[in-house]
């Protein structure tokens, strides 16, 4: 086994051992799907939007990936506080390998979480077109990687969890709400619409929608290119900041 594999495996083990985290992270998407899906469904249909669950489900899958991935990245802070991080930082391996293993592990967990929500949403009435499923997985993976790397970058700069609430309220929630996960971006006032164009998750959500059978807004190639480039940049920044950690 090598460094990257064992650190990847560590993230997985920690996730699957924490039953409360798995169950807890299913509750929120389920609530969104039921409350919003059944609540707004009729209005959406009346407005001529078609089946709201088919529109909403990719957004909620992206949401659960977003939260899980950010949280996985933020785990760096816990490892700093509980001391385990030191153990990896003094090891004779490149810190880029360490951060890569961690990030891949966090992204895998997020991807798995997205898969669970995908299945749940099918139970609730989501009927995706499965022809492009492999491409949907690619988009889910990019979202996972991007936000795990972002979480890692943020956590590398923080010393404790005190800033966490701030990050949730001023970064993660806006990223979620401005991504078009819950409503179409097309009807927005142009000022807000331009902001949504800077939101990486907008392209993730749009890509998931497009590959799962709904119409895309930006086009799949645009989604893939922009999200792909942003992911590479985030991985670079996350790794760099991680490599500079002092404890």
């Amino acid at each position: 086994m090598n460094t990257i594999t064992i650190l990847w495996l560590r993230q997985l083990k920690k996730y699957f051992r924490s039953k409360s985290r798995i169950i807890g992270s299913m509750g929120q998407p389920l609530l969104f799907l039921i409350a919003l899906g059944f609540g707004f469904g009729p209005i959406y249909q009346k407005a001529g939007g078609g089946n709201y669950i088919d529109f909403l489900a990719p957004g909620i899958i992206a949401m659960s990936i977003l939260f899980t991935a950010i949280f996985s990245g933020i785990e760096v802070i816990w490892d700093k506080q509980f001391g385990f991080l030191k153990e990896t930082l003094v090891a004779p391996v490149s810190r880029y390998e360490i951060v890569l293993g961690r990030t891949l592990g966090g992204a895998t967990v997020a991807l798995f979480q997205g898969a669970i929500v995908f299945l749940i949403s099918m139970l609730i009435g989501f009927s995706p077109n499965l022809v492009l499923l492999p491409f949907a997985i690619v988009f889910a993976l990019l979202i996972s990687l991007f936000f795990t790397a972002l979480g890692t970058a943020i956590a590398s700069m923080l010393d404790d969890m005190q800033g966490f609430q701030l990050i949730m309220n001023f970064l993660v929630m806006p990223v979620f709400f401005l991504s078009g996960a819950l409503f179409p971006l097309t009807g927005l006032p142009s000022a807000i619409y331009s902001i949504t164009l800077f939101d990486p998750l907008s392209y993730g959500v749009d890509g998931l929608r497009g590959t799962l059978g709904a119409v895309t807004q930006f086009g799949l190639l645009t989604d893939f290119t922009i999200l792909g480039v942003m992911t590479v940049i985030a991985l670079g920044i996350g790794s760099y900041l991680f490599s500079k950690i002092q404890v």
Binding site: M1, N2, T3, T5, I6, L7, R10, K13, K14, R17, S18, D79, F82, G83, F84, K86, E87, T88, L89, V90, A91, P92, V93, S94, Q246, V247
Partner: protein, 265 residues
């Protein structure tokens, strides 16, 4: 070439100078005790020696490699047992050991055998599949020590390794460390507040106070210099009687409090 060499090493945290212009050398294969009151700057020095903190100024080399420039090469040369907790509580004892073995590139076919041998040594083999969060403080400490020895480092840093351990375990562990030192020539750099321990094992002692080295030499030399009978008396003569309230309160870590509480009760 020395195993460890520092020149005018300094670390400032804002306005506080935690380590103030210290220079020392540690010979290959020796046991070097780094003693000092709470908050003196011992752990900060170890962090700089082990690439965890970058010095404000000054130079450190390990086996000739510069800590700031060749940090990857430096990391191949040492093992460390930290003062603060450093285990992953959500993994088992075995998994913590295995992760270390992989990070330190212990040959795949030796991993299992070495882990078994060391976990037996610290009497945790029966508990290998338990999550570390179910361990007592002393068990965690033993696991950390076993882990630090897993990859046979050339230089071993031990930051208060025996804190919170009972006398039997302390003796048991020290006899193993001395054997490693004799047989494999492992250089040992240790901090401790147990003066008898330092007196027994150390070839060289440095005493640090308020970030500065106030004396260096063998135990006999320090006693002679201070005209005292024991290393403890020499230590007090060199560092004074006052308790380091301010620094102690800032510098102490969780484990201190826990083990102090354990000793007190």
């Amino acid at each position: 070439m020395y195993a460890i060499e520092t020149k005018e090493l300094t670390k400032k945290f804002g306005s506080l100078t935690a380590v103030d212009n210290i220079s020392f050398q540690v010979k290959h294969g020796s046991i070097f005790a780094f003693l000092g009151p709470n908050g003196a700057g011992k752990s900060t020095t170890i962090k700089m020696l082990t690439t965890l903190l970058s010095p404000t100024s000054g130079m450190v080399t390990l086996n000739g490699f510069d800590v700031s420039k060749d940090s990857n090469e430096v990391r191949r040369n040492f093992g460390i047992v930290f003062q603060d907790p450093s285990l992953d509580d959500d993994l088992t004892a075995y998994e913590n050991m295995e992760l270390h073995a992989v990070l330190y590139k212990v040959p795949q076919n030796e991993i299992k055998e070495r882990i078994e041998q060391l976990l037996n040594f610290v009497e945790l083999w029966d508990r290998r599949d338990n999550l570390v969060k179910t361990f007592s403080g002393g068990m965690k400490r033993r696991l950390e020590i076993a882990r630090g020895l897993l990859h046979h480092p050339k230089i071993l840093f031990l930051d208060e390794p025996t804190i919170g351990l009972d006398p039997q375990t302390r003796n048991h562990i020290w006899s193993y460390l001395i054997k490693m030192n004799k047989e494999e020539g492992t250089t040992i750099f240790v901090t401790t507040h147990y003066m008898e321990e330092a007196d027994k094992v150390a070839d060289q002692i440095a005493i640090i106070d308020h970030g500065k080295i106030v004396a260096q030499g063998t135990s006999a030399e320090l006693k002679e210099k201070t005209k005292t009978q024991s290393l403890e008396e020499a230590f007090i003569a060199l560092t004074g009687h006052e308790i380091r309230h301010e620094e102690a309160a800032k510098g102490l870590h969780m484990r201190h409090w826990r083990s102090a509480a354990r000793r007190g009760s």
